[in-house]
Assembly symmetry: C2
Homo-oligomer: 181 residues x 2
DNA sequence: GCAACAATATATCACTATGGCATATTGCCC
DNA sequence: GGGCAATATGCCATAGTGATATATTGTTGC
C-alpha cells in the first residue's frame, strides 16, 4: 500500500476552513498552498466521494441562480477528529524527483550552451516563483492577521528561502560554466 | 496521460554508465542521486521489461557462481538516442507535496509544543541529510575526478544549499515560537 | 554448528497521484 | 455572435509508492 492518502487531509484541512465544493477546494488550495502542495481534480473528486462515504464530510447539492449545480461538502465531527489525528502525526517525506537535476547529472554529453540555457530557464522560473510568493505575502498580511496568519507566513517563508537558495545555486552554476570553458 | 515516464530516463541514464541488472541500477541510483531522485523496484522492473520490448535496451540472463541468476541490461544505440533527446528536452516541474508544511498550514489547533517538536525533528532530518551529502562529496572527489565529476558536484551543491536553507528556516521557526508564547 | 539477519535478485499487488480529455453552462470581450 | 475564460464535475490511461512474498547466499554472534 502506498503509505496513506495525503489528499484526504488536504481536503479535510480546507473544509475545516469553511464548507466548499470540490472546485472551490482546488481554487482555495491553489491560492494558499500552491508553493508546496498541489492537488488535481482527477484525485480530488474521488476522494471527496470517499470521505462522504466514510462520514467524515457531508455532501449537499446546491443550486445558486442558474449556474450549474454544485456539491458543497461540510466537515463532520468525525472529520475534525480525523484531521486532528493527522495534524499531530509524523509527516511523510517529500517526494524526491527533480528532473532538471537528473538531466544535469547525466548531462555529460550535452554541450555547455544547452546546459547554461537549462540553468537560465530554471533561474527565470525561480524568479517568477518569488514574485508569486511576494504577492501571496501581501494577501496574507492584508486579509489574515489572525492566528492562522502567522503559520501561513511560516510556510511562505519556507518557499522564499528555498527559492532564494535555488537562485543562488543557478548563479553558482553560471560562474562554474564561465570558468570551465 | 500522466506527462511522461521519467523512470525510463533515470534507467537509460544509469545504463549509459555501464550495463547493469535492475537491482544494480537501484543501488547505483541510491548511491548517486538519492538526494534529488528516488526509484523503487515496483516501477523499475516493469520499466526495464518495457524498455527491452521497445528495443532501447537488451536483456541478457547471467549466472555468476551459485548466486541467483540476474538479468543484465545494456543500452542499445536507439536507447542512446532516446536518452540524448530527453537530456536536451525541457525538464518537468518537480512534484510539490510537502506534508510537514501542510500540517503547519492547517496547524492552528496544534499546541506550541507539538509544533516545536515537528520543527525540531525536521531540523534533525536536515542535519542528517547534510552528513550524507558530505559523505557523497568525499566519494565523488576521491573516485570521479573526470568530466562527470563536475556535473555531479553541481547536483550535490543543489542539495547542500537546499538543506542549509531548510535548517535556516527551522531556526527562524524556533525563534518565532520562542517570541510568540 | 546453528540461528538470526543482512544482502542479492525479482515479482506482484493495492493503492496513491497525475494530467489529458470530455461535457455542459454562464459571463465577458471584441 | 463567435470565441474564450471561468464554473463545475467526471473518466481514463498511465505513472509512481510501498508492502509483501520468495529463494539463495554471506555474515555475525552465541
Amino acid at each position: 500500500m502506498a503509505r496513506h492518502n495525503t489528499t484526504r487531509f488536504a481536503v479535510l484541512g480546507a473544509l475545516a476552513w469553511q464548507p466548499m465544493s470540490g472546485y472551490d477546494i482546488k481554487k482555495a488550495l491553489d491560492r494558499s498552498v500552491s508553493h508546496f502542495w498541489s492537488e488535481n481534480f482527477g484525485h480530488l473528486y474521488p476522494v471527496l466521494r470517499q470521505l462522504a462515504a466514510e462520514g467524515l464530510v457531508t455532501q449537499k447539492r446546491e443550486q445558486s441562480g442558474r449556474r450549474p449545480a454544485k456539491s458543497v461538502y461540510r466537515l463532520t465531527d468525525r472529520g475534525e477528529d480525523e484531521l486532528g489525528r493527522w495534524l499531530a502525526s509524523e509527516p511523510g517525506a517529500a517526494p524526491r524527483r527533480n528532473e532538471l537535476l537528473l538531466q544535469l547529472f547525466f548531462g555529460r554529453r550535452l554541450d555547455k550552451t544547452t546546459l547554461r540555457d537549462k540553468i537560465r530557464r530554471e533561474r527565470e522560473r525561480q524568479v517568477g516563483a518569488q514574485a508569486t510568493l511576494a504577492a501571496v505575502r501581501d494577501e496574507i498580511k492584508k486579509a489574515h492577521a489572525g492566528p492562522d496568519g502567522a503559520l501561513w507566513l511560516l510556510t511562505l517563508r519556507y518557499g522564499e528561502l528555498m527559492s532564494e537558495a535555488a537562485v543562488k545555486w543557478c548563479d553558482e552554476c553560471e560562474r562554474w560554466a564561465a570558468r570551465a570553458r
